[in-house]
Symmetry: D2
Subunit: 346 residues, 4 copies
């Protein structure tokens, strides 16, 4: 059985999706929908075997398309995915799955009712680094996870319909979903918007978990330097995933705190233990190829989805809660600034 | 006029203070007070010309000591400085100046009344990197400062009487005091304590300023990797100070946001401008030598202090406000964790 | 006028050539010749609009192919290029242009006689870094060039028909050809072969120039770490091109030697001058795209070639001379080893 | 038994020697000889307990000095060491031990005759990195050593009486002496002198060993960037010692070449094996402290010397042979340049 694939949106990510699906077994890329006329014209020339559509509806209506991949602005995910599911298509949606948990729940319900696959493209889960890190954590190599501290900053692309939280945090949240099992009990979120104070391009997010764990995220579209550093502190060891390090994406530090024996203690201060550093070889396979293969395997009934709607829902729920806290916080800041300004004027 | 110097505390920082004062003009290092007998014995052998005291009072009482340098745990700063000022000594105190703003205010009052010099050792202000950065910002090379984002993490030394906020933040706060002129209107602070949840060894602090600026600090004693990266985002350029980079401690990025002309705008999204990167040569002079020289110059009436009590007070006030917010936040987290735990038990 | 392009060889580099020519104006990629049946089958599926040939002759014979691009093992460059020129095609050949200067001279003669374009793909000349570096050197920003020191090592691909000298040195030699004007007066070359001592996978090459300049190359297929560092020492400044540095490919160091005035000299030792470091923005355009465009422009008579046969000839002549010295040296080493071995046996 | 130490020369290295011997057990630093009056004056003030001499002879003549440490320009090592041995002193000399093998042999003879300790300060042998690397190689962790490739470049200090070969190579040669057992059969050496072509400040040195091993050194006083990278290629693994990497001075790469089984071979090309990377914790103890302790232990008869005269002799012999080859080579270059110049004039 060959799966006919239609891709909606041929902007930044679309070409990568098309390229990876084209080289995946049991797949035929049937069509691409794209609104910009010049991109359609260029596609017609470079990929004459693929049908090009101006209208997404037309693509969704095609009988030879079994599955639709949606790589459009976030606000359009829900209507497009819903329309595709309504026509009996399987659906893979770029992260975040939709703009609200209500939308995601509705998509999940439709997919279940129609017996179709609904997946979200949490690409990082298919990187060698994240897969290695997840295995190490699950095997208990680090002991219990105490903290996660992630910096994901660079001069990012401003997105038309989401702020930097909804653009960048889904990566980290989908990864953490694999590393920390317990529930979030408290969220801190604040940030800064260079242009519109209420629409942050820098976000500082802290999640506190029931089981005495913490996760901190520094997310920014406005850093002159690109940093992709994700640290996991465990009771036994510590791990750093630096996605920009070509040779040592994962480093495991045999470092930790040592407590003296009760009877030898002269102080309550712990001491550090510094040990070896170890970098396991991680797969260099393109992550998106793994996503494409996984989507096809799930459609063909050969695998259980690891990136299903429920997972997308968990991520969107945290985004919503973080956004609420972010709004609350930025409004306080705005109010206090206003008060200072008025005080200065009077 | 030669200034007789007495140093109280010969732990981690004391030897550096002694070494630098010994090589400073117009100075004689007269005595060192240290409670540990083995350290005193070793000092007596290696520095026979310096008097060694078990009692701080004894050192402070010496007539040939004109100025006292205090490098002891934070909780002792106030009584020692007060005693020294009472004996008419000039005083240089390690950061933070004291444990509370009330203590600092009292010390300032005593110093003013007695006409003595009261200084706080904000060493970083005398590094070539911070001096260069400050000049660049003040000259307007970066345009207006929008944000500061500082990461100051490593496997730090656990301090006996302060948490990681009071240990690490004074560095950043004393530096920012030179870069941002406007008032703080709102503070977010949260964190994590590996051993005692209420005594954090990781702190995430955000300061919102009246004049639409933000400063974020990631402070940790528990990172396997040492990071000392301080980013300043301006309306014209961006600057990164990486204190671990031996060749390029300061990098100025000619990067920024470009807005299209009103009539050409087809989108509200800004575009990035990427330009050259420039690293000015920064002085490699040992910062603490600069501090020692400055202290002596101020005592001799040759310079105005740039690290006086008022400056130490501003830093301690922010620490206090941040601690209040941190306590409030960590208590919420603790309560919610407790609630989840009880819910799980019931 | 649209130029019909045929590409011979679809191994490591061929796909990049095809992709870049496909997106170049005035070009139609007509055919690809490739000996491996599985690669041909895969091509037929993924690029149905391009004719695929088993035989290079067949491709060369096609009337709708105006220009042939040769990306095959080095030993086949000469016969394939000669055959293509004989059929009146323009020819672009991967580096090195051919296996010997005699072959190159013959190709140049054929190209001139037939009025066809003969070019060698010295891709690095079209990188933003090399173009920026060349302009800086030509403008005299560094003063006079004193030395070039290049390290080009990693776990490289073993080539079937050339050693590491002929594989790696063409990059550096084509670049240096733009930076140093004077003639080579003396060559040192030695190396090491892990498998066959006479077929080195590590080569150390030093070129001495008439005008008191030196160039040293450390070339290796056997380094665990990839290094691409190219240093230019000038009388005024120094420049480092690190091709693996994403942010600062070019750094200009305002460092140099200072000589004291004649009458103040107390010593013959020079002193160092350390200054600022500056990284100009370099173009991130794909170099091979520039090569493809340049080839087409030269064919269309819109540009003079900067990578013509003469340039390829200069590089191959240095390779030949270096190979002679390398052989001579490795034979001496082999003889001496043999002597020691015999001495040990006797 | 306390050993009285006298240090001759208080320039760049002398203060480090004094500081380390002062904190070594069973040692009293009795005197320092230094020709510069201002340095003597400053010493008298900062270290009143140590006698300061203008004349080396005077220091050597002192009865309370049992051992002399010589940290003066290379050309003075021999006469000073000889004089000290003649007075029955033990002697520790900075690297290289002397200016010629004849001198070293004479010193060894004197030391043996007088029953005194003669040691050379090959400091790097006491670094944690070199000790770890040596153990790994000797345990066979890397398999057999195939190659060593060392880059030791920066803006170094010009030395008054030696060129960059004699200044920098002793470090690498003393280290290699521990890693490669077989004899050198052939040497290549060339270089470049910015000021005097026959007095190189850049040297490229290659040693070929009987047992099919090679060592290459890139030594320079004229690099804008400091590099200290030492690579060891083994038949099983590869190792990189980067002395500037604070966290991972030693990295062991589980990389190598794989050969296919005889019957499966379709090609003679080997394939690469890429594996994990591992960084053992290395001691951070100051190397010179280890040297000082070792010298004292050997004098006290508690240890066999690992840095004795024979070892210094092996290093100086290689330096001599390399210098001969360097001179021969640079004279050829000079002659050929002259010929080109004359050709150009005629």
């Amino acid at each position: 059985m060959t799966i006919g694939i239609g891709v909606i949106g041929y902007g930044y990510w679309g070409p990568n999706l098309v390229r990876n699906f084209m080289s995946t077994a049991h797949v035929r890329v049937v069509g691409i929908a794209e609104r910009r006329a010049d991109v359609r014209a260029s596609l017609a020339q470079s990929a004459p075997a693929i049908s090009v559509f101006e209208s997404e509806e037309e693509l969704i209506a095609r009988d030879d398309i079994d599955a639709v991949v949606i790589a459009t602005p976030v606000s359009t995910h829900y209507p497009l995915a819903k329309a595709a599911l309504a026509k009996g298509k399987h659906v893979l949606v770029e992260k975040p799955l939709a703009s609200s948990s209500a939308e995601v729940e509705d998509l999940i319900a439709h997919a279940e009712k129609g017996g179709r696959v609904l997946m979200v493209d949490h690409t990082f889960l298919f990187t060698g680094a994240v897969q290695t890190m997840t295995q190490l954590v699950r095997r208990g190599e680090l002991g219990d996870v105490c903290y996660i501290d992630s910096t994901r900053v660079n001069l990012g692309l401003f997105q038309p319909d989401v702020n930097c939280l909804w653009d960048l945090a889904p990566h980290d949240l989908s990864i953490i979903d694999q590393l920390i099992g317990s529930d979030i009990v408290s969220i801190n979120a604040t940030g800064y918007g260079h242009i519109d104070p209420m629409r942050p391009d820098m976000v500082f997010l802290t999640l506190h978990y029931a089981n005495k764990q913490v996760a901190h995220f520094n997310l920014s579209w406005m850093s002159p330097v690109k940093v992709r550093r994700f640290t996991v502190g465990g009771t036994k060891k510590m791990l750093v995933w630096d996605d920009l390090d070509q040779d040592q994406k994962i480093k495991i530090y045999d470092h930790g705190i040592e407590f003296q024996q009760e009877d030898q203690r002269t102080t309550i201060l712990p001491e550090y233990r510094i040990g070896d550093i170890y970098s396991p070889l991680v797969s260099r396979k393109e992550a998106l190829k793994g996503v494409a293969e996984h989507f096809i395997q799930v459609i063909r009934g050969e695998a259980q989805s690891t990136m299903d709607g429920q997972r997308g829902l968990r991520v969107v729920r945290i985004l919503e809660a973080a956004q609420t806290e972010l709004d609350r916080n930025l409004q306080i800041v705005a109010r206090k600034r206003q008060a200072v300004l008025q005080g200065a004027t009077n």
